[in-house]
């Protein structure tokens, strides 16, 4: 293991076992690690990682990409063989200058101003889903509202024809499976011939998504439209600033990244509102609270539990020496409940003031590209629920994903009610 120095590091309690998360985030363990001096070391496989759990330390790692690299190792806990790392590399596993170049290819479409243009489209989809949920008298909130909303929004931004929506939703659901240990597809599904370890999420659905992206690229080359794929194709034509590999992985990331994450935010959001009817009543009574309530829901949900970096050089964090090559893992799930950063972090407060949460990353250059889109989706949902004076009542426990990476909810039964 890495901590070579004479000093033996403090050992973190177990936080990587996916089964722990079947009962929710192990918050007491994170609180224990936050209180330890310096950084705690967590054994993992035949190596281990530094568990970065405090808000300030997560920020320090995220904002120092020269030292804490996204490109050297994998951005997940486990390592990949060198060829697999290359084959699977996307925006998220790059450092500047590649990162800056690739990010700017798409960033223009995701600015606050340009995301606001999607508000009507998001509202239309939201209203349709909510009305269906109400007409059915409720049901699985994940399947009926939380899952379809983000995928339908991103597909329309990309310019995927409505008729293909179902197919891409299916692919994307297989990819979600790939983030946990269940994999129901045979390796040669969708005509895949690539070794699974070379595909994102080890999933043949990734192959299908690449193929679909290629097809769309050809179509938009022939006939440009006003959509994201056309935008990428144009960038490519104007000087080859994006390689075929980069295009395919960007398309893949755009379809996937906002999907499970926003679904998770909306699922935990509904559960939080059902559990705190007083907080929901505040939002219904005061539309100005939609914005802070959206932030609070996203903090509360923390859909991505951690991201990993790899030390590019010997360095020090929180007084603990780190060796080049060490894994450094930012636990957003912990930073977002850090008592040093929030008053009463375990209180769900839709009026929370300064809420600098790290659900979208710790403030560095990999800050979630889709943050403004996700915020728009959650706030439009809150507005439309408030307009209907809808209440949510949770029936039974949610089914959670056994994952230390995503805070996923597979299903949660909700019944609608009406407020005063």
């Amino acid at each position: 293991m890495s901590p070579s120095a004479a000093s033996t590091p403090t050992l973190a309690p177990e936080i990587a076992d996916p089964r722990l998360y079947l009962d929710g985030i192990p918050h007491e363990r994170f609180a224990e690690i936050r209180a330890m001096p310096g950084l705690a070391w967590h054994p993992y496989g035949d190596n281990g990682f530094w568990a970065v759990t405090r808000h300030a330390d997560v920020r320090a790692v995220s904002r120092n990409p020269k030292v804490f690299s996204s490109a050297i190792g994998h951005t997940n806990l486990w390592d990949l063989e060198a060829d697999a790392l290359e084959a699977r590399r996307s925006l998220i596993d790059t450092d500047a200058p590649d990162h800056t170049r690739l990010r700017r290819m798409v960033a223009g479409a995701f600015t606050p101003k340009n995301i606001r243009r999607w508000e009507d489209a998001v509202r239309e989809i939201t209203v349709e889903l909510l009305d269906e949920f109400l007409a059915e008298g409720g049901g699985d909130w994940v399947e009926m509202v939380a899952a379809p909303l983000p995928i339908r929004v991103i597909l329309s931004m990309l310019g995927v024809p409505v008729a293909d929506g179902g197919y891409l939703v299916e692919l994307s659901n297989y990819l979600v499976e790939g983030t946990s240990d269940t994999q129901s597809l045979p390796p040669d599904a969708f005509g895949n011939t690539t070794e699974l370890r070379l595909l994102p999420f080890n999933s043949p659905a990734s192959h299908a998504l690449f193929e679909y992206g290629d097809e769309m690229r050809s179509k938009r080359r022939a006939e440009p439209c006003d959509d994201l794929v056309t935008h990428l194709v144009k960038a490519e034509a104007e000087g080859g600033r994006i390689s075929r590999h980069e295009y395919r992985h960007l398309f893949h990331l755009l379809v996937f990244a906002g999907n499970e994450t926003t679904r998770t935010a909306i699922s935990h959001g509904a559960m939080a509102l059902a559990a705190h009817p007083d907080q929901w009543q505040r939002v219904v009574d005061d539309p100005d609270l939609v914005e802070p309530a959206t932030e609070e829901i996203i903090r509360w949900a923390t859909p991505v539990l951690h991201m990993r970096r790899t030390a590019a050089a010997d360095c020090e964090l929180a007084g603990t020496p780190i060796a080049a090559g060490d894994k450094v893992v930012m636990w957003y799930a912990s930073a977002n409940r850090d008592e040093a950063a929030y008053t009463d972090p375990f209180r769900f407060d839709v009026g929370r003031g300064d809420n600098e949460h790290f659900a979208f990353g710790g403030g560095g250059p990999h800050l979630c590209l889709g943050a403004f889109l996700a915020r728009l989706e959650v706030s439009v949902l809150l507005q439309e629920m408030a307009a209907r004076r809808m209440l949510l009542e949770q029936r039974g426990e949610p089914v959670r994903v056994a994952s230390n990476f995503v805070h996923g909810v597979l299903s949660v039964d909700m019944a609608p009610g009406w407020g005063p």
């Binding site: 904002r63 990010r103 700017r104 960033a107 223009g108 600015t111 250059p365």
Partner: protein, 74 residues
């Protein structure tokens, strides 16, 4: 509060990743270009220091900086 010090902000185009935090926080002062996705300062770029500090703190590319203090306002 009267007498808040005004400062001028600037964007380092090289470091900017088009994250849009500046545009979200201070839409009157920053605008991210649609195609290049690089932020720039529109107008004088003057902000009260505490608000400028927030933008500097939140910029994911560490691209925003305070260039010079301006004369105190009323």
């Amino acid at each position: 509060m009267s007498g808040t010090e005004l400062v001028r902000v600037a964007v380092d185009a090289e470091r900017c990743i088009g994250g849009g935090q500046c545009e979200m926080l201070e839409p009157e002062v920053f605008l991210v270009d649609d195609d290049e996705a690089i932020s720039s300062v529109v107008g004088s770029g003057a902000l009260p220091r505490p608000r400028a500090d927030v933008v500097v703190h939140r910029c994911p590319g560490a691209a925003v900086s305070i260039v010079e203090p301006q004369r105190p306002s009323e």
